[in-house]
């Protein structure tokens, strides 16, 4: 994109271009195009552009060869803005589906260094269609300032291997490159609907450890697998661009040290909250944290999984590590502890890397399936990553299966797996990832339909809920479910405790959408900059004349475009529902009980009416 640095910020969309490449995998042809930007959505990229593109290529089968898989960047991806590392994949999802059976538009975003390499290659977006006739590695290079060159390499030797093996193997072959790869789950896409795409990181290539970042949600790895595309290699030496404008420095300092990212920073240095893992100590005291398939125990049984306790009880070391050139250090990486003698004293040091523990994978692969042992949790989190699956979807699917088995001891599924049964859970995860357990690989919606017990299947529209209680979030059905929740209503009742209808209509139709902003800016949500500072960063780096208000307008239009895409794929009012048991009262949850069936029945028509009004107001009516 023509985003040469400009400080006066006088540019309009017409001053930008998109370097787009249509890749037909069936006949291995490339069609490069330089497209003029028509609007701010085109300039920003990410889902703002991705949804526009998906509107042009609707399909009935997410895995059909003519289905389009879109890879693109956000405006600040690969820039000098701290956390500007996002890569986006978009497609019609094999998981998120209307009741009429049509797949819905979805996306997933991840950090790592792959996006930066794409930027250096001079690529804004790639549109994949067709299907390779054999497992394929797409190798992209660029000489000087020339056009990117695409080569299709035989990827058969990588098939069947886990994610980190694939990345390390490719790293040996292409030492300057970064990678987007699928795991065994993506190869077995017909039996696993929630396969993810892994993006390599600098830490991963240097250490050899499984430290990928993930485009996890919605089964984008399965779509990539359905195209027989095993890996994408962005192979180019790092390029040093023009010196970053001086106005950028205070904004990057704000990202690294400001209040927006404080909760994600290093707890040990006493200047941070300790990352999303800290949700254990924030949510569990009010029993608002999923346990046993989103049914909190009301006890302290999850206490051993608090970070403080993991470090105190050992033998583990938790290191706060970071993405490429990011000062937040939100990664909470767990290592086995080794004690070394130095000057007659024993010193604790990290030894073998075990897992990166974010709240969602940790919670959904431990407390929510009845596992309260950190060693077992690390093994399961790592295994799910290595198989290349979305930890949210598989975690929620496992907990449903365990709950089913608890209710049906005479007729168990999934090898009889029960809450807390580590070994059985481990074996089931391996089976799912290798396509040997299709019942669970289909995700919780389809499984619950097959078992005719949808009441405790924790999903909306086929997307499994993340690790925030649906009992406290009636906004879930309208989430586009791309990032973890994509509706900033998931912690409102914790902080604000409001339970009246007017409040929730406003929360869902206005404030809830704001979570989408960083799904098109190219930066990480953890940067935490308010809209005015984000607009400053965009102006400084791109010269685009943009304001906080215009960011809000793009958020609104992007959400509405996603909502319109759902309608066009057959979603009706009946699709916007929650599982019945999410509306029941759980006295152990120390938060107001309000999301009753009656409340939701009153809320829903008002929310739908407001969204329809907003579509009219934007001239986007279906």
């Amino acid at each position: 994109m023509g985003n040469e640095n400009g400080h006066e910020a006088t540019k309009s969309p017409a001053d930008f271009e998109i370097k787009s490449f249509a890749v037909n995998l069936s006949d291995q042809t490339i069609q490069p195009q330089t497209l003029p930007c028509e609007d701010l959505e085109d300039v920003f990229g990410g889902i703002a552009r991705g949804f526009k593109l998906l509107e042009t290529c609707p399909i009935d089968d997410a895995y059909a060869p003519n289905a389009t898989l879109i890879l693109n960047l956000g405006l600040l991806s690969g820039s000098d803005f701290m956390t500007g590392l996002r890569t986006y994949f978009h497609a019609y999802s094999p998981l998120k589906t209307s009741l009429s059976g049509k797949p819905s538009a979805m996306w997933s975003a991840g950090s790592g260094k792959f996006g930066t390499k794409l930027r250096h290659l001079g690529i804004n977006e790639v549109l994949f269609t067709g299907r390779c006739d054999k497992p394929t590695i797409l190798h992209i290079t660029r000489e000087g300032d020339g056009e990117p060159q695409f080569a299709f390499l035989n990827g058969s030797d990588l098939v069947g291997h886990k994610v980190n093996h694939k990345i390390q193997t490719l790293h040996k072959q292409f030492p300057e490159a970064h990678f987007a790869v699928i795991g065994p789950a993506g190869e077995n896409y017909e039996k696993v609907r929630y396969a993810a795409i892994a993006l390599s990181t600098e830490n991963q290539l240097k250490s050899g450890d499984q430290k990928s970042r993930w485009c996890g949600r919605g089964g984008m790895g399965g779509v990539m697998g359905s195209k027989n595309l095993i890996a994408i290699v962005a192979d180019i030496k790092d390029r040093v661009g023009p010196k970053a404008p001086k106005e950028l420095k205070p904004l990057n300092v704000e990202v690294a040290r400001g209040k927006g990212s404080a909760r994600f920073r290093d707890k040990k240095k006493a200047n941070g909250g300790g990352g999303t893992w800290a949700n254990y100590e924030a949510l569990n005291p009010v029993h608002a944290m999923p346990e046993m398939n989103f049914n909190p125990t009301g006890t302290i049984v999850s206490l051993p999984l608090y970070r403080d306790n993991v470090e105190a009880l050992g033998p583990y070391v938790v290191k706060d590590e970071s993405c490429f050139r990011c000062g937040i250090s939100c990664h909470k990486n767990v290592y086995d502890e080794v004690l070394e003698e130095k000057n007659g004293k024993l010193k604790s040091k990290p030894d073998k890397y075990r897992a990166k523990l974010d709240f969602e994978p940790l919670n959904l692969l431990s407390s929510n399936i009845g596992i309260f042992d950190i060693d077992q949790a690390c093994i399961l989190v790592e295994l799910v990553d290595e198989m290349g699956m979305d930890s949210i979807s598989i975690g929620t699917t496992l907990s449903y299966a365990m709950e089913y088995n608890r209710r049906h001891p005479e007729n168990k599924i999934a090898d009889g797996m029960s809450y807390g049964d580590f070994q059985a859970t481990h074996d089931v995860i391996e089976k799912i990832g290798t396509g040997q357990m299709e019942l669970l690989g289909q995700g919780v919606m389809r499984m619950s339909q097959e078992l005719n017990e949808p009441g405790y299947a924790m999903h909306s529209k086929g997307m499994e809920y993340p690790a925030y209680l649906p009992q406290t979030n009636p906004g879930y059905p309208w989430a586009l479910a791309g990032g973890h929740m994509s509706m900033r209503t998931y912690l409102l009742v914790l902080y604000e405790r409001e339970t009246n209808l007017d409040y929730w209509v406003e929360a869902i139709t206005k404030r809830g959408l704001s979570i989408l902003r960083d799904d098109f800016t190219g930066v990480c949500k953890f940067a935490g900059l308010p809209d005015d500072q984000m607009a400053d960063a965009i102006r400084v780096l791109s010269g685009l004349d943009v304001t906080a208000e215009s960011l809000q307008q793009i958020i609104r239009r992007t959400f509405l475009r996603g909502y319109r895409l759902e309608k066009r794929q057959g979603f009706t009012d009946e699709d916007y529902v929650m599982p019945a048991e999410a509306h029941e009262e759980y006295p152990q949850i120390d938060l107001p009980y309000f999301n009753t069936r009656e409340f939701f029945q009153e809320l829903k028509p008002r929310v739908m009416a407001r969204f329809n009004e907003m579509l009219e107001e934007e001239g986007m009516a279906v």
């Binding site: 040290r257 209040k259 404080a262 909760r263 994600f264 006493a270 200047n271 941070g272 909250g273 999303t276 800290a278 949700n279 100590e281 924030a282 949510l283 569990n284 005291p285 009010v286 709240f359 969602e360 993340p466 690790a467 925030y468 990032g483 973890h484 929740m485 998931y490 912690l491 914790l494 902080y495 604000e496 405790r497 990480c524 949500k525 953890f526 308010p530």
Partner: protein
């Protein structure tokens, strides 16, 4: 003495959307009392029934986290910055 207090967006609904105010006080307790006086609805969003900081909030003084115990007794000096941080968040 004047202390700058920063309020997270997560609860700024109860501070009339103000996320930064200057208040007088020589201890955390005094400054918080001034904060409740100015924004009465904010108190129950920051403190629980026992008068302790909610588990999902943290309090920082000049970028350093304050211990939860006896938080009101913590002394402040002119120009200090007191920041309420919302701990629970996803992504």
């Amino acid at each position: 003495m004047s202390i700058r207090v920063e309020i997270p967006h997560a609860i700024s609904r109860y501070s009339d959307e103000e996320t930064q105010v200057s208040l007088e006080g020589s201890t955390v307790g005094e400054v918080l009392a001034a904060l409740w006086e100015r924004f009465p609805k904010l108190k129950t969003r920051v403190l629980n029934r026992e008068g302790n900081l909610h588990a999902y909030l943290l309090l920082f003084r000049n970028d350093q986290k304050l211990p939860r115990a006896n938080i009101g007794d913590q002394p402040l000096t002119e120009g200090d910055r007191l920041e309420i941080v919302a701990l629970a968040e996803g992504g």
